[in-house]
Structures are given as structure tokens and as C-alpha cells.
């Protein structure tokens, strides 16, 4: 070993940048149906390989194949399709509403819709999600009213959160959706705490934690894994790897780890990777992990491999840091098209029905928006009273806040 050789810093860089030709040749995509399905009580050591593969059900022909495929009825599939189409339509409308100044901010789910929508349908009532800002599908798939989401986005007089929160930072205990934090990763260990509570109370409910690829670098991701592994908490730990964290490609957070799913190995947590754009695969893997948690077998880590097809948020322009057409060349395709193709392939759907569904969904979204706008948008119409600004800081308003509210004239 030549001790005199000088060191150099390795700074990971994405393969391509704006102007380059998109290239995903480094992403190995196993054939649909090729990954085995172990029993839920499998020993973690025996499924290490599943963290380095990708569980896929839908093949290029739109067929559902392999051991993870035998799950859903055509009705369930159509419901799933409706959910992801609704989410996409909802996003599109809200992006326009943002451009029209009806809200200050928006974050869309484009390209990732299948993940949260499918996961939610694998949960049972009473289970609790601890989501990030990009799991709106959880609400859609649990039939949370679109109009309430819009009321929140518009910060209007019916906003369930009284204008206090940034748009899309929903909260709904009744729909199993924990209040979203702007501070990344905090929810990850909170989910574990919720699951521990359920176990302490000998309940049957389980929790689901959500985090983005970039945010796995945050410390509370570690805290979550440590607590989940120590107490074998009934929780599903979900990592949505959409390849980007604002302008930062996943290689920065992932380092030399191969995959994000592999993070679970140091904790003895079974860790699976799944095609996030394959509704059937997501739902099957989600069910596996949820069953495992419910059977008191402890946590499971799931990495959803997907691609953030849109901008990070309405404050961001991705053409500054990645090729414009990168999204189109993403090898796992589009979740709507893949599910639609599958339904058509099995004779349970058609182009016409799809068109019609699109129109119906558009109508539903537009109707909800009309209704929401009656109650105001950010700068016009009804809005939450300023009194609300002072309320809810504590269960009871302490004297100093009462005084401040009076000073403010409310």
C-alpha cells in the first residue's frame, strides 16, 4: 500500500444533466413475475435478496404474472384505476389553480400515483399513515372528500386547518392520515411510536411510515429503524424512491448502499423493493408487509422504485438540473397506462370506458373545485377568521395569547 498516494473526495454525480440524453441503462429491471414471494413469517436473513431486486407483477403486455399477482378482482382494479386517475386529474386542476393565484403553493404526485393509492387499499380501518407531502393518494383512496382537500389548498373559510398550514399539508385522523409536517422525516419515528402504542394497548391496528429517498438521509429515519427494530413495532416503513430530492439525484442520499431497501438489513428488518408504477405489485407487497405487522411479526421496509415526473413543487423548475425528457424514458412506465392496459388486456376495460372515466373524473374534480371556490380561495372570497391564528396553540388559550389577540383586534 503506497501511503504517499494522495486522497481525493468522491462526489457522486448523476449520469446525465440538462442537455444530455436521458439514460437509465444502469437501472436493472427484473422481469415481471420473476421475484419469489416468501411467507410473511420468513426470517429476515432469508429475504436479503429482495432488497436488491424489484418485485413486479405487470409485464410489458399488461399481464399480471408471477407469485405476487393473484390478488385483486376486476372491481378492485377498476377502483384502483379510478383512484390514480382522480389523483392525476386533481393534481392537474390544482396546478392550474396555482397558476391562477388561487393558492400559494402546490405539490403534485405525477408518476407516483399508484403507490399511495394501492397501499391505502391494503390497510384496514383504524390503521394510521404518517405521510409526507407526496402521498395524497392515501386520502383519495380512502375517499376523503376532494372538496375538503381543495378547501385546505385554497385556505378558504371551510379549510379544515383554518388557513394555518401550507397547501397540501392535510390532516385527517378519521381517514388514517396523520398531519403532514414541513420538517422532513419527523413522521418516520412518530409512526413507529404510534405502532408501539397500538402494541402496548394490545390493539390490532398498525401504522405506516412514509419517507422520500432523499429524506432517508435524515436522522429520524435512523431513529425510526432503531425503535422499530428494538420493539418489533407493527409498522410498515415505506420509502418512496422517486430518484430525486428537489435537484439532488438519489445517489447522494443512497451513497454506496446499492439500494435504499438495503438500509433495513443492518436492523434485521425484512426489506423489499417493488415497482412503484405497478399498482398490482405495490398492493401485493403492501398487503404482505401489513399482514406481517398485523401478525405481530414486526416491521417491514419497502422501497418503491418510481420517478418524480413533475417538478418538486410549484417553486421548482427541474429543467435546471435534469434532462427535460428524462421522465419519458423512465423504464417503469406510467402507472395509469400500465393499469389501464392490464384491465383492457384481461377484458375488463376498454379505451372507450377509459375516456368516459376520464370525463367523469374531470367532472367530479371540477364540481368539487366549484364547490370549494364558493368558500373562497387564498386571496378572494371567504377565509378563516384571523381569530383562528391565535386559537389552537394550546388546548386552552393562556392569558398572554388572549392579550395578544386583543391587541390584534380580535
Amino acid at each position: 500500500m503506497d501511503k504517499k498516494k494522495s486522497l481525493s473526495l468522491h462526489v457522486p454525480e448523476p449520469a446525465v444533466r440538462p442537455g444530455d440524453t436521458p439514460d437509465f441503462s444502469n437501472v436493472t429491471i427484473p422481469k415481471a413475475g420473476s421475484v419469489r414471494r416468501p411467507p410473511v413469517d420468513v426470517a429476515p436473513e432469508e429475504v436479503r435478496d429482495l432488497a436488491f431486486s424489484i418485485i413486479r407483477v405487470l409485464n410489458r403486455q399488461g399481464e399480471a404474472v408471477g407469485p405476487w399477482s393473484d390478488l385483486l378482482s376486476p372491481d378492485e382494479l377498476r377502483t384502483g384505476l379510478r383512484h390514480i386517475m382522480t389523483l392525476r386529474a386533481f393534481d392537474a386542476r390544482m396546478m392550474i389553480a396555482h397558476r391562477q393565484g388561487k393558492t400559494s403553493f402546490y405539490m403534485q404526485n405525477l408518476g407516483e400515483e399508484a403507490i399511495a393509492c394501492a397501499f391505502q387499499k391494503a390497510l384496514s380501518p383504524g390503521d394510521m399513515n404518517f405521510p409526507t407531502y407526496r402521498q395524497t393518494g392515501l386520502l383519495i383512496a380512502s375517499d376523503y372528500p376532494l372538496v375538503d382537500m381543495m378547501n385546505q389548498i385554497f385556505s378558504n373559510e371551510r379549510d379544515p386547518l383554518k388557513g394555518r398550514q401550507l397547501p397540501v399539508m392535510y390532516s385527517s385522523r378519521s381517514h388514517g392520515f396523520f398531519s403532514i409536517s414541513g420538517n422532513l422525516a419527523t413522521q418516520f419515528v412518530q409512526a413507529v411510536g404510534w405502532a408501539m402504542a397500538s402494541a402496548i394497548k394490545n390493539d390490532t391496528k398498525i401504522a405506516a411510515a412514509w419517507i422520500g429517498d432523499g429524506s432517508t438521509a435524515e436522522s429520524d429515519f435512523h431513529a425510526g429503524l432503531v425503535f422499530a427494530s428494538t420493539y418489533k413495532a407493527p409498522v410498515v416503513l415505506n420509502i418512496v424512491n422517486n430518484q430525486w430530492a428537489i435537484s439532488t439525484f438519489q445517489g447522494i442520499a443512497r451513497g454506496g448502499g446499492g439500494t435504499f431497501a438495503a438500509r433495513g438489513h443492518g436492523f434485521g428488518i425484512p426489506s423489499l423493493r417493488v415497482d412503484g408504477n405497478d399498482y398490482l405489485a405495490v398492493r401485493a407487497v403492501a398487503k404482505w408487509a401489513i399482514d406481517r405487522a398485523r401478525a405481530n411479526l414486526g416491521p417491514t421496509l419497502i422501497e418503491y422504485v418510481t420517478y418524480r415526473a413533475g417538478a418538486h413543487s410549484t417553486s421548482d423548475d427541474p429543467t435546471a438540473y435534469r434532462p427535460k425528457a428524462e421522465s419519458d424514458s423512465w423504464p417503469l412506465g406510467d402507472p395509469v397506462i400500465r393499469l389501464k392496459t392490464h384491465l383492457i388486456t384481461i377484458g375488463e376495460w376498454s379505451k372507450e370506458r377509459h375516456k368516459q372515466a376520464e370525463a367523469e373524473i374531470a367532472d367530479t374534480v371540477v364540481a368539487a373545485q366549484k364547490e370549494a371556490e364558493k368558500h373562497g380561495t387564498l386571496h378572494t372570497g371567504g377565509h378563516p377568521s384571523v381569530r383562528n391564528m391565535f386559537e389552537g396553540v394550546y388546548a386552552e388559550m393562556p392569558p398572554h395569547l388572549r392579550r395578544q389577540r386583543q391587541q390584534a383586534g380580535y
Binding site: M128, F130, P160, L161, K162, R164, Q165, M169, S171, S172, R173, F178, S179, S181, G182, N183, T186, F188, V189, Q190, A191, V192, G193, W194, A195, M196, A197, S198, A199, I200, K201, A207, S219, D220, H222, A223, G224, V226, F227, T230, G392, V393, Y394, A395, P398, P399, H400
Partner: protein
């Protein structure tokens, strides 16, 4: 016999709460089998089982974060940070999560969590076992901050904190755990059994949050303190032979401003005392409020006697600690004017 040390009173408060409410759970580093490095949770695991009182991994953010999730579920966690000096890794969970969850979710989720931490110096703990970080909590809307000065209050305030529906930072002056401390570190320790306020009845009672106590009525000046400093101030007053009123805040937020302003309007002079560093300490808020509220009653500027603006040194501990001499000097100074 209801005489208790601070440690016994604190332990008893948790015992009472765990006995009355199955949703109360207690956890933290070394709090389970061992009963905590200061033994405040001793016996609770044995009595309530290891799913209601248990050891955690050494991750303060995880401890508070897990408590957040448990509170969202409906439990009522009372957790221990081993020393107040170690809350920093949990600050994000405390500030961004516990303090704001009720507000941001419009009451959909709440954080009925009590976070206990031993605080203050006087045990040669050096800069990482001596800190008094209360001002870092009082600046955060949504938190309540409590500092007891005796066993009676410690038990009643801790029960009130655990039963409170908001997150409470419960700072335990570790120099008081085993006896009152008047700042004369050379003298032998007086045990709590000799102090009236160690009479902490068994069973349930509360000392309501947000109410100060006047520990000594007086006419010539007002001294505002909390925790260990209450005893040091009482000693200083006695030694100086000055008829000063000594207010023990007990709760820093919500603050009992009325008790303070009443006293200062009466005496016209005020000294604020704490162990934490001066700049941006809680004494700044007190001085600011007092000059706002009592301006025309004040005969002299409000003076602050505090720890210096340095880390808490190890060997120079007693030069750092704001002892009776410095308090006496400040009293004399406000009276001189």
C-alpha cells in the same frame, strides 16, 4: 409519613398517574429496570410492567418522536431526557412537532406529552451536565415550561403536567433532588425531611400550571426566581437582612404575570435570578415584561443575576453559579437607587 425528597415526590407523581390512567407510559434511557440515573422511575417497571415503563435506545429524537406517535394514538407519555444538556437532538421533534401539532392539525392530533429533564449545575457536572435551557423552550409557542423548587410542588406540578393536554417541559433542578440548596456549597447538605415543603401528601393532588408562589412576603424589593435559585435567593435575602419579596415562578410559561406585577408595583424594585446564561435567558423576558407593565412603579432598573455567558465550566463551577453574594449585591444595588 408524607415527607419526600424531590426524587421521591417525582416518582410518586408518576406512580399516581400510572395508577389512575392506563394511558400513561414512562420511558427513556435507563429508566426501566434500573429506574433512571437519578432513580426517579425506580420501581415503576416492576409495578406497571415493562410495556408501561421501559428503557429506550439512546436517541433523544426517537424518544420524543415515539412519544409523539403514542400521543397521536391516545397515550399520555411521560418521558425522561437523561440530562437537560441532551435534549438538543430532540429539539426538532419538540419544536416542529410536539409544540405545533395541535395548531397545524387544528386539534385533529395533540401531544399530551411531559418531557422531564434534570437541569442546572452545582454537582461538578461540567458543561454537559449542568445546563439550564429553559429559554430555549419559552421561546417556542405551544410548549409549557415548568420548574419546581420543592417536593410538594414537584409532585403536584408533575401530575398537573402529565394530565395537561399540551406538551410540558418539566425541568428538575438536580441540585435539589436530595435536599434544598441555599448556594453555600461548602456546608453540609440539609435533607428535605427538615423542610416544610417536603410534605407531599400521598395520592392525587395537583399544583396548577401557570401560578407562581410567594415564598417570602416583603416590601422593599421583589426577587423573581425558580428552581434551585429560589432557595439561594431566600438565603441571600436573609443574609442581607433586606425585606424582599421572593417569588417562585414554578411555571415559566404560561407565566403568572399578575403575581409578578402586583409585587413589583408594590416594591418598585426587582431582581431576576436564574442559573442559565444571561443573554436571551428567561430573565430577559421577565425584565422586558416588568419594565413594560410596571414602568411607572419602578424606582430602579430591573437587574438580572444569572450564569455568565460562557459554557458551564467544571472547576470554576462556584464562580459561575449565581450564589447568595451576587444576589445580595444586586439587591443592594437596586435599593441604592
Amino acid at each position: 409519613m408524607a415527607r419526600k425528597t424531590m426524587i421521591e415526590a417525582i416518582r410518586d407523581a408518576m406512580d399516581v398517574c400510572m395508577g389512575r390512567d392506563e394511558n400513561v407510559v414512562v420511558f427513556g434511557e435507563d429508566v426501566g429496570f434500573f429506574g433512571g440515573v437519578f432513580r426517579c422511575t425506580q420501581g415503576l417497571q416492576k409495578k406497571y410492567g415493562h410495556t408501561r415503563c421501559f428503557d429506550t435506545p439512546i436517541n433523544e429524537s426517537g424518544i420524543v418522536g415515539a412519544a409523539m406517535g403514542m400521543a397521536a394514538y391516545g397515550l399520555r407519555p411521560c418521558i425522561e431526557i437523561q440530562f437537560a444538556d441532551y435534549f438538543y437532538p430532540a429539539y426538532d421533534q419538540i419544536v416542529s412537532e410536539a409544540a405545533r401539532i395541535r395548531y397545524r392539525s387544528n386539534g385533529d392530533f395533540t401531544a399530551q406529552i411531559t418531557i422531564r429533564m434534570p437541569t442546572g449545575g452545582g454537582i461538578f457536572g461540567g458543561q454537559t451536565h449542568s445546563q439550564s435551557p429553559e429559554a430555549l423552550f419559552t421561546h417556542v409557542s405551544g410548549l409549557k415550561t415548568v420548574v419546581p423548587s420543592n417536593p410538594y410542588d414537584a409532585k403536584g406540578l408533575l401530575i398537573a403536567s402529565i394530565e395537561d393536554d399540551d406538551p410540558v417541559i418539566f425541568l428538575e433542578p438536580k441540585r435539589l433532588y436530595n435536599g434544598p440548596f441555599d448556594g453555600h456549597h461548602g456546608r453540609p447538605i440539609t435533607p428535605w425531611s427538615k423542610h416544610d415543603l417536603s410534605e407531599a401528601p400521598d395520592g392525587h393532588y395537583i399544583v396548577p400550571l401557570g401560578r407562581a408562589a410567594i415564598r417570602r412576603a416583603g416590601a422593599r424589593a421583589t426577587i423573581i426566581a425558580y428552581g434551585t435559585m429560589v432557595h439561594v435567593c431566600l438565603a441571600a435575602v436573609q443574609e442581607a437582612g433586606i425585606d424582599a419579596e421572593v417569588i417562585d415562578l414554578r411555571t415559566l410559561l404560561p407565566l403568572d404575570l399578575e403575581t409578578i406585577t402586583q409585587s413589583v408595583r408594590k416594591t418598585g424594585r426587582c431582581v431576576v435570578v436564574h442559573e442559565a446564561t444571561l443573554t436571551s435567558g428567561f430573565g430577559a423576558e421577565l425584565a422586558a415584561l416588568i419594565q413594560e407593565e410596571c414602568f411607572f412603579h419602578l424606582e430602579a432598573p430591573v437587574r438580572r443575576v444569572t450564569g455568565w455567558d460562557t459554557p458551564y465550566p467544571h472547576a470554576q463551577e462556584w464562580d459561575y453559579f449565581p450564589g447568595p453574594t451576587r444576589i445580595g449585591q444586586a439587591l443592594a444595588a437596586v435599593l441604592e437607587v
